[in-house]
Amino acid sequence: MKPRLGAAFLRLFTAQASWNYERLIGVGTGFAAEPLLRPLRADDDARYRAALGRATRYFNSHPYLTGVGVGALARAECDGAPPEQIERLRSALAGPLGSIGDRLVWAGWVPTLSALTLAAVAWGAGLRAVAAFLIVYNAGHLALRWWGLSAGWSRGARVAGALQAPWIRRAGEILGPVTALALGFALPLVAVWSGEAFRGWARITLAIAAAVTFGLLRWRPDVLSGLRLGLVLVVVALIAGIVWR
């Protein structure tokens, strides 16, 4: 089974390639689960096809935790669980896998390491900081992906217990403050580093532009985004820069 688990693990890296509005990450889930379902084909091709058909249905998950669903659903199929139970398992997993992943990775692990890297670059660490970011981030990333697939495959329909593991709760509790601390630490360093290129009127204008833009972004976050406001600001500055010779 090890080679098939390895194949499923590698396929998980492409899980979102066919992401679509109908099945979300479902097609990618089926693609990753296929090697794990192959033993069914040797016994009964109809059962394999039915299981593969179910594996590609609607599924939602954080991409790094898709392995939990892939492993659990494939294991349940191999264990001969009834289709209704497998559908219930799919529905039950979709919500938590999305919210846990978003909280731990997108709102925790990524911004924390990004902020620390920004601070390190501002401090003069240069490329070493970026290399360290890639290594540390992906150590966590790969470990999470492998844990997810292993937990799903070993527990099958009882995978819910793995999602209640103390380390997940603890990681969430720790990452919240650490992320806030790292972001807060990085901002002044980056602001000073970015402002070093300017002198006199330019530095004062930079402070005013940043403060006004920040105020606008906080005032109407529903309408204004960093990209929209940034584009408006630079286009206005571009026109002024052409006129002001």
Binding site: T14, Q16, F133, F185
Partner: protein
């Protein structure tokens, strides 16, 4: 420039499809482009700037967001192509338009995937392995083309900007543009930070971090 184009394509693919190892993060994308072009300092400068813009978005589920990875690669290349003092401002203009284009292309990619999945639905539901592999790898291939197209369009925009805008821009004007770009990035980074931290106890930790950061900045 061929290396930059290839790097932009890889970065575009990394964001969603393969392998999501944060190559698409502006800091990494910018550093990589800087290495390729022999100007690491410019790569890091643009990387930091777009990383701050990146803080403004949380790529959760089906949300629509700009794509800052290839945009950063293009901006680093643009900064070098322009070869003017400061240069950050005009390169940011090119990068932000590329980011917007990248975001739009992601939506188009998802819509094409949806159409392909609808067509393949009967075969998928019947457990047709061939149809599943074709559909999935088709999405991967389209995303590769998408990343290449966004990077190419961004580089073309950089060339057009060099031809038509650089000659019209005064030194003072470029400095103003750099100020605006840096100010917008800092504001986006600060606003994004508050969104990530949210309300409640996180704010206390943020305040503590800010204090530490101010002291560290003063010491440096």
């Amino acid at each position: 420039m061929l290396g930059v184009f290839a790097w932009g394509t890889v970065v575009g693919l990394d964001l969603v499809s393969l392998p999501q190892m944060m190559l698409a993060r502006p800091l990494v994308a910018g550093a990589g482009a800087g290495l390729l072009l022999g100007d690491v300092a410019a790569g890091l400068r643009m990387g930091v700037l777009f990383e701050l813009f990146q803080f403004d978005i949380l790529p959760v589920g089906a949300t629509r967001y700009p794509e800052y990875g290839p945009a950063t690669v293009v901006a680093v290349a643009a900064a070098q192509v322009f070869a003017i003092p400061f240069g950050v401002g005009l390169a940011t203009v090119v990068g932000l338009f590329t980011a917007m284009l990248g975001g739009l292309s992601l939506q188009v990619h998802r819509r094409i995937n949806t159409r392909a999945a609808t067509v393949a639905a009967p075969a998928l539901d019947a457990g047709d392995r061939g149809a599943l592999v074709r559909l999935h790898l088709g999405g991967l291939g389209r995303d590769l083309v998408r990343g290449a197209a966004v990077t190419a369009a961004g580089l073309a925009l950089a060339v057009l900007t060099r031809e038509f805008v650089v000659p019209a821009l005064s030194h003072r004007g470029e400095r103003l543009l750099s100020v605006a770009a840096t100010g917008a990035a800092l504001a986006a980074g600060a606003a994004g930070t508050l969104r990530i931290v949210g309300r409640g106890p996180g704010l206390r930790w943020l305040a503590l971090g800010l204090t530490g950061g101010i002291v560290a900045a003063w010491l440096v």
